[in-house]
Symmetry: C2
Subunit: 276 residues, 2 copies
Amino acid sequence: METLSTEKSFDGVQGVYRHAASQTACDMTFAVYMPPQAEAGPVPVLWYLSGLTCTHANVMEKGEYRRVAAELGLAIIAPDTSPRGAEVPDEPDNWQFGSGAGFYVDASEAPYETHYRMYSYIRDELPALVGDAFNLDMSRQGIFGHSMGGHGALVMALRNPDRFRSASAFAPIVNPSTADLSSSAFTRYLGSDQAAWRAYDAVSLVEDGHSFPEILIDQGDADSFLKLGLRPWLLETAVAGTKTELTLRMQPGYGHSYYFISSFMEDHLRWHAARL
Amino acid sequence: METLSTEKSFDGVQGVYRHAASQTACDMTFAVYMPPQAEAGPVPVLWYLSGLTCTHANVMEKGEYRRVAAELGLAIIAPDTSPRGAEVPDEPDNWQFGSGAGFYVDASEAPYETHYRMYSYIRDELPALVGDAFNLDMSRQGIFGHSMGGHGALVMALRNPDRFRSASAFAPIVNPSTADLSSSAFTRYLGSDQAAWRAYDAVSLVEDGHSFPEILIDQGDADSFLKLGLRPWLLETAVAGTKTELTLRMQPGYGHSYYFISSFMEDHLRWHAARL
């Protein structure tokens, strides 16, 4: 693991790191914010999965999480959103597929199955790496994300409820199998048999019996992706009568950007800290 | 004035606007955050001047000012750092001169004197425009900035103590006449007679009898520009025994970036609000 940069911020350290990842068969960059409490002992870990077109940097620069993470003693880890590099199949002009659009799946279809393994990279490889490299309490992990990354966080939580103690999302794609932002990518990563898609779709996972104790979702009602891409009401319907308790907050006037995310970042960090 | 974008954030509105400026003889872009209190009545104004290479966008994206500005009811205005456009003389490969490096002076030298009039643009033209367009109390104005913009804020406050009720800076260039970041640009904008530079140099202005009641400066001691470019101790020496009270806080371990600025943004906003 190589350190690309470290900067003191809010008494903690915001770092950017790179390593040769085996799951994605390429170099991967990620950001870690370590709060000042980590100097005294291991701190709980909150994973943030980013949305389409993003890298590790978007939430690091615009998410406004460091102040509250430093207060609460949370490490914040922001992975990249896809494999990248000259050897990785990509469509540079397509913002919904390829680089920046890994959708947190393990692809099964050629030529994507070698590199596009973001599910296993996030679930297994990166936690093993950071658990060794930083002063983290890996028994206390939470996960959240935005848009495509909100989808990723919900799927990761629903499939791994023993790993994560808390889960939330900003404007997630709750049913990517049928959303205009994602269904084409699912076909190309996972094939045309939609049975295979269900393991990567929060609504389908709930329908198939998966659950997570409590989920918080904030969604702006002025979000231009709301009706065709995000549709959190589909998850609200799916969890009704199940063991998953969903708190869905529609936020009037808010859009899809980090101006929205940063406005509610503090609420989410406190939600996670209370459950970690 | 044209609206380029508006986004709801922390219950207020972050907007970006463009207008044809007469002082700089080009289109100028600027950002305004209006807190929710502006719906009820005029709010005080805090000007933020940015550093070398920046536009209005850097502090807007990375400054983390909206939460506290919304709490305190402050409008935050972030102008650009220079004239820009095909008609504006520039040296694209020089980050210390031309576009992104206006140094908040009114240039006297050809070919820069037509467009590089950032002092008058910030002092006169933009306040007149925003005073008409937004619900602002122009009798309550403060000013702050970073690096080159910290220089601009100190000069603007020291030369216009009746206009501004409060002034502060992050890592300012306090003596640009002798700093490696700025002396070359001063020669080219203002000519080789250094008498003319004194009106744009905080240390010289204090030496020449200008004062401002209270100034707050935060400076990271791990800032790579500290010794050759910033040197806040020169201002500390200059104000000794004068009517200007300087609070200079050296912040251990902090650098020059927005990871530093955002860490102390809340302190500065509360400093200004208490004086506005």
